[in-house]
Each structure stands twice: as structure tokens, then as C-alpha cells.
Homo-oligomer: 453 residues x 2
């Protein structure tokens, strides 16, 4: 028996693979690749641009194809699926669990979906139908049906004999057996650690834990993730409205939920989708980016139109043109800070209509202090630069107004958007900077028109 | 035995608690609160503004204090620690695992730290010293020392008898026993599921799994998280350079790492710390925000200074002042998209010096297409608005230049910053928009000066 050598972190793998490929060592590259976990192969594929990705994908052994596909982001997955013929796809799908299959089917061409469904036996087809009946982002959509159940009146000794007779062994990531009554209602869980440390003569009822509450199938993926994080769960049972056991959720899928939510929040602010492939085809990327640039161009022209209303003022006091981006920029930065805090609060379930008033009050107070400080600083700089006290006073006032408006809209916008069913992570930033641009230009040029001309 | 009622998602808890508190039901509120998991209490406390938070904190039973504190973000934790007297703090710290205690000690006043250390027995003090010797963000810093080890030559029957004699039972989140040789070198793991399904006469060596590689204590928390995600791990052994077992990492701590990294990335872009308390004291918040506003004010004045170089030009063609924010804004938006993609790629370990060239090429190609499209659109709008073909041509050219510069800096900036040890999530956005503002104003007003006057 040899001591396993600690492996390298994953970021050197790409380099190794590139070297082997450059030396034309296709067989060695294939061996390296197929020694990895499916998730690691998926990670490598996502680190490669399209041509190299196709080359490496062809080196992956057919038996891993299905599982590797489940770990890829949608865009990359679609790319690789397009390279496979019907036979390969059906074989790949055949190797998947029902719940992974259900997720994947939605990305397949309709003709192939039908072929795949036809190739399943009746039991798998029934399970698939059930899996497809739940929303992908709900507890029902997250769960697996590979539960191992026991009854409260069994002794632990009987349970252990039963487990030894299971022909496939226990499923991966099993930390407990689920205790149900005769009718399949959830009662509690029997942790394997309790099974192993209690007297074998004890009954399941004596060794089981009652305080793991089952998760209703209708809960959102976000609620499930919060529950797992707060209760340090490894697996959790899922039940229907009557408390009947439907399946179980495992922590590996919950980690994916957390990662996807985080990606959505981070990429959404730049108008990118969380499925975005870093090496997406140029034309596809260009089209998606164009859309976002178009939306933002509209808001930029709105701001320009506001400035246009004051052409005559700018003509007379050209310093206004020099200083006006400062007013807009300060408002945008301050507003984004409040907005970001509010979006995170919403995502964590820590901000709601119940405490929004407090957040608003606090953010307005913070903005109040900063509006005084920065009004003075900017006014002083403007005075030194343009030797004009009136301009200094006007820009100071405009900065103050814009910082207060920024805090107000940054704090309330996310809740308002959510109420209207609009995703704050996606739309919040665009709307906020439109508000701060317009209010910034309007207050600065408006005050200038009144007091400087 | 009753069927546990599916509990409400967590976001209604705050409302319930508020209602009870408003009705003055302090005892009922305390009962509600102390029925929750420590992590849930922590979550609730973070959803409350300072005064209410202090009130609720006093309702938490002393025995939960320590664990609740471990789940709080740094800022909130410090706030509550300041409310506790030395006796309370020592009691709270006494209830913690060594690894949690090590994390917490750094937030305590020095005098109290000494008191706490004095109150520990020698074994705990040694463990604490060991835990403190690892970087908080390394595998060593993440691990617990509560490992249960077995030897390869034991039979499973002997292992099971050994487990039944453990006086404290098995630690929470145990999916395997760690197999070590006589000298404590890591050999592999024995999954509880294999222990339960194999013949009791088999030896550990026959039932154990060899392909769970141990994690070196020096790995970063980010590398550990990637390993857990890609191998669907629940726990993983941690070893030193010689392969000697040091401890184990559990998936609940890894979920916290993923959450914190995501928070850092998301909040960092707005210049906020991931420890930021949504209801931080106004003065503290105002001071932190002021810093970020100050940094951004400098960049805004840099942009203003560039505009100031062209005062004479703007004086003659005031339409330039109206249109110039459009050029800067389009560059900022496009650059942020590329930057966001690159920062995520870096964070996932999918972008490195090895494939940066590809990303740069692709982003430049995407920007190339969009620079043509939006140059034409913006030029047409400018032409219709100001009836001036020269202005239209100048703004079109400036948009093109700025979109290309934005893609170039968005793709390369994160890698360059990382190489210099600067956090791209924090500094990337500020630097990028400075670049796009300056290049936008410079190209637009510069070209205008050359061709319009």
C-alpha cells in the first residue's frame, strides 16, 4: 500500500494538458484526461476556447460523456451536444440518474428527446415524468429519488442486515436512512453514526433523530440552500403537502445552487447570464452584448437629452461641462454601494419589507454625512480650479442632492423591483445609474441656470 | 410519534419575532428564539438594526452565545462582543471547538484573549496553538481535529465494536473513518456506507477507498472548495508535507467559504467589505463609504481634467458637452462586461496566463463587431439630433476606439492586478472606468479639436 501523493491544485492541469497536446501526445492527453473526475473534465473543457475544446471533448471516453455534460454550464453543454450524433447522445443520457436526465432533456433537440425517452424502461420513464413535473429551481427539482427508508419498529440489527443485502450498496452521499411509517409519511432520520454507535438491539424509533424537518417540494432552491447552511445538513428529506416522502436533496447539489446564485448576482450586474461561456463563439457573444449596450445607450441618451436642455447655460459657463461628470459619477458610486448592500440583503433573506425602513433610514443618514463632506471638498476644488464661488456653491449643492437621491433609490429600488417581479441583480444597476445621472445633471445644470446666468 | 410539520421558510421569522416583541411578549420571543439553530439566530440578528439587535441578543440563552457568535459576520460579531462582560465571554468561548475558538480569538480584546487562553486545559491550549499556526484561509485553518481513525488490518467487526465504545459518539458530519498506518500517515478512508454493507469479517484494507486524496494543509480555501465541488465530497482528510494526518475538513465549512468568496466578489466591486453589516452604525459606515467615494472622486477629477484640456473646443461646439457622457458610458458598460467575465474566470481557476491570450482575442473580436454597430447607431442619432455630419463621424470614431480599449483593458486588467498582488474584485472596476472615461473623453474631444475646429 502506498501513501497517496497530495495532488496539485487544479490550476496547473490546463498547463500540463496543453503541453502534452502541443507535443502531439494525444494518447497521453487522453489518459491524463480520463483519469480525472467528470467535474474536473468539465472544468477543463470550460477553460478551453472552442477549437481546443472540441479536440479535448473527443478524447473523453464515451462512458463519461453523460456525467461530464451534467457539470457544464448551459452554453458549453449546448456547444458539445451539437457535436454528438443521436447514438452517442442516447448512450450518454442512458448513463444518467433520472434527476440529471430531467435537467439535461431541456437542452436537447426535440427529436433526440423523443428518442431518449423511447429508450427508457417504464420505471425510468415514470420517474422522469415525475422529475419533470417539478420546477427546476424548487426543492422538488433538486431532489433525487434514491432514498433508502426504514421503519421505526425495526431493530438496528435488522437494519444492518437489510443494508448488507442491498444489491447496489448505499447511494453516494448517504449520512442517514429515512424513517417512514407504513403509508410512506416522513417521521425522522436515522443517522448512520447513530446506527453504528447504538446498541444493535435498540429499535429505529429509539435511535432516530426527530429534529431534522423535511423540506416541502415547493420550497425554492434558495430556501433549500439557506436551510442546509443554517442546519449544517448533508442530506435532507423532501416531502409533499401531506408529508409523504418524495426523495432527498444532497449537499453537492446545494453547493451548485449557492455557486449559481452567486454567479447570477455577480454576472447579472454586468448584464451577463450565469450560463455565459468565457469562450463563447464571437457572433453569439457580440449579439448578447449588443443587446445590453443598446439598453444602456438608451439611458445614456436620456442623460444626454437632459444636458441638451441646458446647452445655452453650458455655452455661457463652459466650466459646467468640465465638472458635470463629477456630479454624476459621485452619485453613481454612492448609489451602487447602497444598492449592492440591499441586493445582497435580499438574496440572503435578511432584507424584507419589515426592515427596509431601517435600512433606508441608516443609508440616508450615511448619505447625509457624506453629502456634507463631499459637497465641501468638491466645492473647494471647483473654487480653486475656476476661481468662481458661485460655481463652487452650485456644484456643492448638486453633489449633496445627488448623494441623497442615490441612497434613497439604492435602498428602495431592489425591493420595488422584486415586488414587480423584475430581477434586481439584473436591472438594479442600470436603473440606478440612470437615476443618478439624470438627477446629477438636472440638479447641477438646473441650479447653474438659476444662479449663474 | 407525530409527523413533523414542514416549517416555514426563514423569511417569515423576522416578522413573527417583531410582532411578538411589539406586543411586549419578551418571554415568548425568547422561547421562539432559543428554539432555533444557532445559525438561524445569527441570521435573525443580522436582519435587525443595532437597538433591536441588542435587545434580541439579550434574549439568547448563554449556552448558545458562543456558537451564535461563530456564525455572524465580523462586524456584527464585534458589535455583540462589545456588549458582553469578561465572564460571559469566557463562558461563551469555553463552549467552542478549538478551530472556531481560533477564528474568534482574533476579534477579542487582548486582555480577554489572555483570560480565555488561561482558562483552557493544557490539551486544548496545545490544539489552539496548532490551529493558530495555520493561515485562516488555508486548508489548515479550515480543518477540525476531531478525526476518528482506524488501521487497515482491523476487521470491520472490530471497527464496529470500537465505535460503539466511543464515549462521545461520532462527531457531526462523519461520512467516513480515516485509515492511517502506525505512524499516522494517511492511507485512505473507510466510508460508513462501506462499513455497513461489507461482510463484518472483511478487513478495513479490503473495504476502504483509496481514491480520496488527502488535502495538503497549505492549500488555499479556494482550492479546497474547488476540490469539494468537483469530487462531491462531504469531508476530506488534511495532511502535512509528509502525508501525516492533521485533521479533516467538513462540507459545512466549505459552503461558508463559497458564500464568503461570492460575497467578497459581489460586494468588493462596490468597494464594500464582505464583513459589512447591513445595519452598521451610521458613523462607521459613513467613514468607510467616504474612503471609497474619495478614491472615486480622484478618478472623476482626472476625467474632468481631461475635459478641461478641451474647454476651448467645447465653447465652440457645445453639442460635444451634450454627447460626451455617451462615449464614456458605452465604454464603461462594455469594459465592465469583459472585466466581470475575466474576474469570474480567475475566481473559478478557469482563467490563467495560459488561456488569457484566447480570451483577449475573443473579447477584441466581440468588441470589434459591437464597435462598428454602435459607432453607426450613435453617429446616426447624433446626425439627426445636431444636423452635423462631422460631429456624427467624430463620435462614431470615438465610440469605436473606446469599445476596443474597454475590451483590451477589461480582459487584461484582472490578470495584471493579480500578478501585482492587488485584488481584482476590489480595484478592477475603479481602474477600468477610469481608463474608459479618460480614453472616451480624450478620443472624442481630441478628434473634435482636430476635425471640427
Amino acid at each position: 500500500m502506498t501513501v497517496p501523493v497530495p495532488s496539485n491544485p487544479d490550476n496547473t492541469r490546463l498547463e500540463d494538458l496543453q503541453q502534452v497536446l502541443q507535443q502531439g501526445g494525444m494518447r497521453r492527453a487522453a489518459r491524463m484526461l480520463n483519469a480525472l473526475q467528470p467535474a474536473e473534465i468539465a472544468h477543463l473543457l470550460e477553460s478551453l476556447p472552442p477549437k481546443e475544446r472540441e479536440l479535448v471533448w473527443n478524447l473523453v471516453e464515451a462512458e463519461y460523456d453523460g456525467e461530464v455534460l451534467t457539470y457544464l454550464h448551459d452554453d458549453v453543454r449546448e456547444h458539445l451536444i451539437r457535436l454528438m450524433d443521436t447514438g452517442e447522445l442516447i448512450a450518454a443520457m442512458g448513463s444518467l440518474d433520472t434527476d440529471d436526465l430531467a435537467d439535461m432533456l431541456q437542452d436537447l433537440p426535440v427529436a433526440i428527446t423523443q428518442e431518449v425517452v423511447k429508450s427508457l424502461d417504464q420505471q425510468r420513464r415514470d420517474r422522469l415524468e415525475k422529475a419533470l413535473s417539478f420546477d427546476e429551481d424548487s426543492a422538488g427539482g433538486l431532489m433525487n429519488t434514491d432514498t433508502v427508508t426504514v421503519r421505526p419498529e425495526m431493530t438496528l440489527d435488522v437494519v444492518m442486515r437489510y443494508l448488507r443485502r442491498l444489491k447496489d450498496g448505499l447511494p453516494d452521499i448517504t449520512d442517514n436512512l429515512i424513517v417512514v411509517d407504513r403509508k410512506g409519511h416522513y417521521l425522522g432520520v436515522l443517522y448512520l453514526t447513530d446506527l453504528l454507535t447504538h446498541d444493535p438491539e435498540d429499535t429505529v424509533a429509539e435511535a432516530m433523530t426527530l429534529d431534522v424537518q423535511a423540506i416541502p417540494a415547493s420550497w425554492s432552491a434558495r430556501e433549500v440552500a439557506t436551510r442546509f447552511e443554517q442546519h449544517d445538513l448533508v442530506t435532507a428529506p423532501v416531502v409533499d403537502e401531506d408529508g409523504s416522502l418524495l426523495g432527498r436533496i444532497t449537499v453537492d447539489d446545494v453547493m451548485d445552487v449557492i455557486r449559481e446564485e452567486a454567479d447570477h448576482q455577480f454576472l447579472g450586474q454586468a448584464g451577463l447570464s450565469e450560463t455565459e461561456d468565457m469562450f463563447a463563439p464571437v457572433l453569439l457573444s457580440a449579439r448578447r452584448r449588443a443587446l445590453w449596450l443598446g439598453v444602456n445607450l438608451l439611458t445614456a441618451f436620456l442623460a444626454a437629452w437632459v444636458i441638451g436642455r441646458f446647452e445655452a447655460t453650458i455655452q455661457q459657463v463652459v466650466a459646467l461641462a468640465v465638472l458635470m461628470p463629477v456630479v454624476a459619477s459621485m452619485g453613481g458610486i454612492a448609489g451602487t454601494q447602497t444598492l449592492t448592500l440591499a441586493i445582497r440583503g435580499l438574496a440572503l433573506g435578511q432584507l424584507s419589507i419589515n426592515n427596509a425602513r431601517w435600512l433606508l433610514w441608516k443609508e440616508m443618514a450615511v448619505a447625509g454625512i457624506n453629502s456634507v463632506i463631499w459637497a465641501i471638498v468638491v466645492a473647494l476644488v471647483a473654487k480653486l480650479w475656476f476661481h468662481d464661488t458661485d460655481i463652487a456653491l452650485v456644484i456643492g449643492a448638486a453633489i449633496s442632492i445627488n448623494l441623497l437621491a442615490a441612497a434613497f433609490s439604492g435602498a428602495l429600488l431592489p425591493l420595488a423591483l422584486e415586488r414587480f417581479g423584475i430581477d434586481p441583480a439584473l436591472a438594479g444597476g442600470v436603473i440606478l445609474t440612470t437615476v443618478t445621472d439624470v438627477i446629477g445633471f438636472l440638479s447641477f445644470l438646473g441650479l447653474a441656470t438659476i444662479f449663474l446666468l
